[in-house]
Amino acid sequence: MSRENVMTPAGTAAAEPICLVAPDGTRRHHEPFDAAVADVSDDAVADLYADMVAARRIDTEATALQRQGELALWPPLLGQEAAQVGSARALRQDDFVFTSYRENAVAYCRGVKLEEMLTVWRGNASSGWDPFSVNMATPQIIIGAQTLHATGYAMGIKFDGGDQAAVAYFGDGAVTQGDVNEALAFAASYQAPAVFFCQNNQWAISEPVGLQSRVPIAQRAEGFGMEHVRIDGNDVLASLAATRIALDRARAGDGPTFIEAVTYRMGPHTTADDPTRYRSKDEVEEWSGKDPLKRIEAYLQTRGMAVDGFREAAEHRADEVAEALRAGVTGMADPEWEQVFENVYAEDHAWLRRQREQYGRYLELVEGEGQ
């Protein structure tokens, strides 16, 4: 077996992803998708654009903060703004979102506070926010685990007779995990109101998507009897449309949908990764031609909007976001030692209390720090 034959899956090119705004800004047409975004005005598109600009700025700023030692690690989403913003803006606030660790734009759209988004990457806490405050679970690092949680949540919605949906975000690498396959089986069996949103960014750290799947990933859903669609993940309108359609289906009781958003991770896997070891410059260059932000600029220009105007407004908002992000992180106090022992159980526990007391005495002894 040569390396090549796993790098180029037979079917990847087969199903042309659905696209509404082409890389050059041209509007393309697709019947059900057009209908799904018929109400989206040019101003609303400019808002989506502004969200993407903000997401990109969060990324740049967090990466800088990591380099300056303010964050321990950062998983950039550069290049994936459209997939995340489009899908997240399709959601209602009472839908519930389960993501992996790269969905910073989704978190932004859900209203997660910027410093809460970074707490975990600074190493201050295992989890930055209260999931119920924004209806979004905190980032999941165990690959694919959250797809089962979303499925269970969706089953709960169905059992309760609610009209919300649960959405799971995951990567192309994740589709190999048993958990994801089990999630698809459960969701299909129970016809749960779930949306599986796979961001196929072509790479799982150093492993190309062809190592995970010999067919387009969306096609996997077929075997589970699940509706599926493959979209251009760098097209924010396509992402919005696909997610709206899937959510409508979920709310109508028609079961789960699998969306594969074909996109690209422009940066490293995390700030600790060195992508030059495994992928070519040409590939990165090719994808930068499909940039999700540039195409919306071009599109809105064709619609007669003044690029300078909406770009300036978006950048102004992004500046504020970046400033708040930096202030939130640099002003963040280190956690107190007692936090080590908190929230292990709902009720106090004698064994752990003893460890805590001993450790308090230890700090008193060696540092005069305990209480």
Partner: protein, 355 residues
Amino acid sequence: MSTQQSEATGLRTLTFGQSINRGLRAALAEDDKVLVMGEDVGTLGGVFRITDGLQKEFGAQRVLDSPLAESGIVGTAVGLAYRGFRPVVEIQFDGFVYPAFDQIVSQVAKLRYRTRGHVAMPLTIRIPFGGGIGSPEHHSESPEAYFAHTAGLRVVSPSNPQDAYTMIRQSIACDDPVIFFEPKRRYHEKAEVDLEAEADLPLGAARVVVPGDQVTLIAYGPLVKTAIDAATAAADEGVSVEVIDVRSLSPVDFGPLEASVRKTGRVVITHEAGQFAGLGAELAASLTERCFYHLEQPPVRVTGFDIPYPPSKLEQHHLPDLDRILDGVDSVLERTSSLNGAAAGPSAARQGGDA
């Protein structure tokens, strides 16, 4: 020593990580049934670069980038072992072994027993483990007790580059499945490694790394170095601490431990994992059974707390360090210690009682 002499005697200055790489390379070269598998182990050379260069040297069929699924990695290794291969699988981080847990404890561990010896499972499962590198959650776990509790598995952990090189080769050569825990925070530590030396100890053997006669201090993996430092600090205060590196966490080589405890009558056991039902509990119970009448004090455990691994800004509170180990040593010496309830004033710890 000149480079040429070094070449001749096989001596090299290598990091812990490079030593494992050399061990893997030697094993791949010696036996074409040896395979290396795991996420990102090929082109990237592993996220810690432990398998760096191996795919280039041995090809994509000997050093395989696995699809992203740990149960798949270990489960297919079982099939490869049926077929006569000796897979060495890498689990990228300790916290990612759990999806493979079922394959390891239900299949890998039991196949020899279930088949009355017909099927061997010469798998080596490499797991970078433990904390101290400032990682996010699931990247700093110490899951050794789960595996040590499972009959049929060998569980080992080297603590220095020479052992890393020797023990990885012994693990691959072993006809039993071996869980090979690599103390990831030691990956960059260097030492002189003899690549040609015959192994001085069997895979399952414990070793006295610092001789002493007042306290027995038992450690493994990442904490051996900390334990040695603690023994040096204790020596400065006139206390003689014997440090033992357990090396094999299952089965445990109790001989050297027992001999030491009979001599010192005082024992401290340290590990990063939580205390409850951890390795320390087994070692303390077994040594108490074997050496009860030689013990001057109950064995003391200096361990991580019984909590999920904390966020990185708090890990220094969780991980036993030199001072906490010395506090444990004080306790078995009946000096002022947080563990025997004494809450003396600040800085009393290092002044309490006579040696």
